[in-house]
Amino acid sequence: MTATTPEGASHHDAPSLRGRRHRRRWNPNLVAGSVFVGLIVLAAAVSFVWTPYDPTQVDTSARLVTPSVDHWLGTDKFGRDIFSQLMVGARTTLFVGVISVGLAALAGVPLGIFAGMTSRRWAGEVTMRFNDLLLAFPSLLLAIMLAAIFGGSTLVAMIAIGIGSIPSFALLIRGGTMQAMKSEYVLAARVVGRRPVAIGVRHILPNVSGLIIVQSSVLFAIAILGEAALSFLGLGTPPPTPSWGRMLQESQTLLWQAPRLAFIPGIAIALAVLGFNLLGDGLRDIFDPRLEDRR
């Protein structure tokens, strides 16, 4: 499983970009990212109402057909239509991404805000040590262990990827919270006696929302890679539900006859990851040009 760099794709000279008004109108990362992600969302959405064929339908008379008018991207060794599988696979990919990133945000954001806000040293310390423990279990390892116990499934993959993504969320949000805590409006809220929970929800959360959005996009890319790797190992989405990772795995024995069976889902995975990474970089430029200096 690969990780993305925390740094943005583009390094700007910070002073010219300070303040939202002065940001560049044309943000190529954002545009390219939105286009790629948009294509995948579109494919997934359309697949609910229409696919050229039933993606799980086996047709022994049309095995390993090369791309044609009938089958736009050809068929696999069971005669299943690749384009249809790809469309439904987009659904699996997005589903895993949404649930796992949502899970990571639900746990990681409160954890990070708490660790950043608390004035009790031991409380912050305990939260960070808990984070250390989570860091010891990268998603892939956690998923393999859970798959050994419960058997491989989309749910196991989502949970493992979600839990594995909590620490990076928590660390980032803790940093943002600590900065927001120094601001005068938080001080003012504390002076008028607002309770910590209210300050966290009303003042800190909106302030770190940019961080949350950017990090979600980056983690989405990591989740896609994770799901693909797990399905590739046979520990993710079980058949017959189409999954890009498993399409790749199934293609491995056919590299000699039909390498396109590997290229097509491979390109889909890479485009999806690239799309979310670029989107993350683009959003980063919008929300906080100074963010790239922060880990």
């Binding site: 993305t4 760099t5 262990m145 693909a228 790749l248 491979g266 995975i269 890479a270 990851v273």
Partner: protein, 316 residues
């Protein structure tokens, strides 16, 4: 102060290691069903299951089993597999060097790619060539290692027939074969990581290029590359070294997948094979080994930080 800091970090490491061993053991122990029955399969008789339970101490209480397991790990005698009935220790011991060689070779590939690529990307960051390389590295980041493996096999093994598509030979048996078989997996793992590390190198060098001492050197007539080589590289190295160490974790995890692609008998394939066989105590031991490796890498990074950067020494 430095010693206190190192002692504290080592203490945290030991505590996290113990806590994670409880997590690993606990997760495996909550298994729905009996591990002995899972290992023996559906056709096992009750007496077989009882015999296996006794043989592996599964009839003991959980704390006893945990302590037994821990004792076995610490004394490097992790017991025998439920399924294959072979000793786990020697099995793991023969596989560790394989994975280490693979990870080491991939790291070399990654460094060889990342440092020149990242430097050029930084020096030309406003020019088309720099942007093109940057886009290329972005693509490299997006390609999963197993896809890189498959693409490399398709090109160099299937199309060109230059290199073997999979397998592993011990370097003592046949060094040439060993080297030929290592090339593709090391490239698959190393190129993807190289793309990621190159981005760290780029941003680190860009930071350094903005420093006053580089401006001074430029004012004295040095070319950007010269100024960077004479004054900047050493400063840029600190974040890159730590990034490299952290990426080791991902190389290790990537190896789990790549070993599967190239049929390499390392730790990763032991893990995935054991999951397939539902050989749970092997899974438990290998996961613990990898968790310990992740923690050791993180500890080394922490210590490196403290030793290399005096400011961090003072801050913490």
């Amino acid at each position: 102060m430095l010693l206190w800091n190192l002692a504290r970090r080592t203490g945290i490491f030991v505590a996290t290691l113990l806590a994670s061993s409880i997590v690993v053991f606990g997760l495996m122990a909550v298994l729905p069903g009996d591990p002995a029955r899972v290992a023996l399969g559906l056709n096992a008789t009750d007496s077989d299951v009882a015999h296996l339970r006794e043989q592996f101490g599964l009839d003991q209480s959980l704390p006893e089993r945990y302590l037994d397991w821990l004792r076995g790990l610490i004394t490097l005698h992790p017991g025998t597999s439920y399924v294959t009935q072979t000793a786990i220790g020697p099995e793991i011991a023969t596989r560790i060097p394989v994975t280490l060689i693979l990870v080491g070779a991939s790291m070399l590939v990654a460094i060889a790619v990342a440092i020149p690529l990242g430097t050029v990307m930084a020096l030309r960051h406003r020019r088309a060539s720099g942007l093109a390389l940057s886009a290329l590295s972005q693509v490299g980041v997006a390609v999963p290692t197993f896809l890189a493996g498959i693409l490399l096999v398709t090109l160099f093994a299937v199309r060109l027939g230059w290199l073997p598509s999979s397998g592993w030979t011990s370097p003592q048996d046949d060094f040439e074969m060993f080297a030929r078989q290592l090339v593709l997996p090391a490239l698959a793992l190393g190129l993807c990581q190289g793309a990621i590390i190159a981005r760290y190198v780029r941003s680190s060098i860009l930071d350094v290029l903005r420093q006053d001492y580089i401006r001074t050197a430029r004012a004295k007539g040095r070319q950007p590359a010269q100024a960077l080589i004479h004054h900047g590289l050493r400063n840029a190295a600190v974040p890159v070294v730590t990034a490299l160490a952290l990426q080791l974790v991902y190389l290790l995890l990537g190896a789990v997948v790549i070993e599967r692609v190239f049929v390499i008998p390392g730790i990763g394939s032991l893990l995935t094979d054991s999951v397939g066989l539902r050989d749970l105590n092997v899974v438990q031991d290998v996961v613990m080994l990898l968790v310990a490796a992740v923690l050791v890498i993180n500890l080394v990074v922490d210590i490196l930080y403290v030793i290399i950067d005096p400011r961090l020494r003072a801050a913490s």
